[in-house]
């Protein structure tokens, strides 16, 4: 075998293992949503989960998220029950997931401090319905800490979440969702 070819092979190997290694993850991302309707009501439709998980692949910009529906906590227990039982049907659809890619992943310098605005495109699945979405987020790198955040609007109708007309004014047609995650390096066992 000629030395150039061998070198090329080595390069192929090298880049391959490098790509497999550079991943970040969390199992405790927080997701907050607000679905307060136009009616000014004492009861706030506001819930938070702190057990969302996420894995980001640096080289490809691919990312995946998942959150158990039952992990959302409301101020009002009955609201939480209705959220699970009647609206999101968590027994049938236990998780909400997102699978997408960071556009221009090379623009984020993962080892350099800074704030990097990113655009993420992908498929969001809630209540068993998948929609293509695109949203803006931010990646903040400070020392060894990586903070990812994003905010978006989710139209309930798009995910076949039906709101009975009786409570139509209490619940917003679009829920505003905020995501906050602090990422750690994923030590992959197979690389």
């Amino acid at each position: 075998m000629s030395s150039t070819r061998f070198f090329l092979l080595l390069l192929l190997f090298g880049s391959y293992t490098l790509a497999a290694q550079q991943r970040y993850f969390t199992k405790s991302a927080s997701i907050v949503f607000d679905a307060d309707g136009p009616l000014d009501d004492v009861e706030k439709i506001h819930a938070k989960s702190t057990t969302a998980s996420c894995v980001v692949d640096v080289a490809t910009g691919q990312m995946e998220w998942a959150v158990p529906i039952q992990s959302f906590r409301f101020e009002n227990s009955l609201m939480e029950e209705h959220f699970n039982e009647n609206y999101l049907e968590s027994a049938k659809f236990p998780k909400a997931t997102f699978k997408g890619t960071i556009q221009h992943p090379e623009s984020v310098k993962w080892t350099t401090d800074g704030s990097y605005p990113v655009q993420v495109k992908g498929k969001l699945t809630i209540h068993g319905v998948t929609n293509d979405i695109s949203t803006n987020g931010n990646i903040l790198i400070k020392g060894a800490q990586i903070q990812a955040s994003a905010a978006m609007k989710v139209a309930l109708e798009d995910f076949r979440i039906k709101i009975p007309s009786v409570v139509g004014f209490k619940i917003a047609k679009e829920a505003s969702v905020q995501i906050q995650a602090s990422l750690e390096t994923l030590k992959s066992s197979n690389s």
């Binding site: 199992k27 819930a47 998980s53 894995v55 995946e64 409301f74 029950e81 994923l186 992959s188």
Partner: protein
């Protein structure tokens, strides 16, 4: 040599695509640490109909319960098939913890006061540590409040009291179907006659079949093991519909029992279903979040 090299390259390509295929889900890299989840909402309410269900009030929730039982259907058109008469129980239940509730109620019948403590020993769970059934313990006390509860007899004040204990074993088999079995012990300090036992043992069977997201068919039966004499009084059987509308749960039902606490519906004389000795009734439950939890 060239061929050999190409072979290696194509092999590597195959390997790398295979790896890519395996890693279809990045989240799989986090490993499978399945969580244990409590199975909730086996029933819409903390009562099946008359009997306690495996459902608990969540912490900080106050449940205001208004229960009505009308007269027997076989009392005829003159009494508007029982709707002219009504007997009721007003109650307040409160969730101290997700696994511990207390309740207080007062019934029209016998001006009876009742109080209970409900403790969930173990919830039904799925996931990493699954447990097939919910185990709930209920202990209660009742007090006959009539001016002269036992005419013609002398009695001590303590003899107005009755007690009950039950262990509820329930399982939510699917989203639509739940079933529970509960052995009961009821002790009355004073009974009507010497044939009636002071300690009555019973087994109750309650269930729910969901008809839609907000409507369910329910039933509730208690078989008393030592009801004496047999044939004069009947075991309580109730069938009903649970209708949920936002913060309210309406339970509409037909039952041969008038009593609305464990002492009353198991040991009191119940009507005969075969002869139309049943009554229409409803339970209305309105819950309030008294102590908020901050999400």
């Amino acid at each position: 040599m060239k061929k050999y090299c190409l072979l290696i390259l194509s092999l590597m390509l195959v390997v790398s695509t295979r790896v890519a295929a395996q890693e279809e889900s990045l989240l799989d890299l986090l490993g499978q640490d399945e969580e244990t989840q409590v199975v909730r909402n086996a029933f819409k309410s903390t009562r099946v109909i008359n009997g306690q269900s495996t459902e608990m009030l969540r912490e900080g929730v106050l449940d205001f319960r208004i229960l009505h039982r009308f007269g027997p259907v076989n009392s005829g058109a003159y009494n508007f098939f029982g709707l002219d008469q009504a007997s009721m129980r007003l109650g307040l239940d409160y969730g101290i913890r997700d696994y511990l509730s207390i309740g207080l109620g007062r019934s029209t019948a016998k001006k009876e006061l009742d109080a209970f403590l409900k403790y969930r020993i173990k919830p039904q769970t799925t996931g990493a540590r699954s447990f097939p059934v919910s185990l709930v313990w209920v202990s209660g006390i009742t007090r006959n409040g009539l001016e002269d509860p036992f005419p013609g007899t002398t009695y001590a004040p303590s003899q107005r009291f009755g007690y009950y204990h039950e262990l509820i074993i329930g399982r939510k088999f699917s989203e639509g179907f739940s079933l529970q079995l509960a052995p009961l012990l009821i002790h009355r300090n004073l009974v009507e006659n010497y044939l009636s036992p002071n300690d009555m043992y019973a087994i109750s069977l309650g269930g729910r079949l969901k008809l839609s997201k907000r409507i369910a068919f329910t039933w509730d039966y208690a078989y008393a093991l030592n009801r004496i004499p047999q044939g004069i009084s009947f075991n309580p059987l109730s069938v009903g519909l649970d209708i949920e509308t936002g913060g309210h749960v309406f339970q509409l039902h037909f039952s041969n029992a008038t009593g609305m606490n464990e002492r009353a519906y198991v040991t009191d004389d119940n009507g005969d279903w075969a002869k139309g000795g049943v009554r229409f009734g409803f339970n209305l439950s309105r819950v309030f979040q008294v102590l908020g939890k901050n999400p």
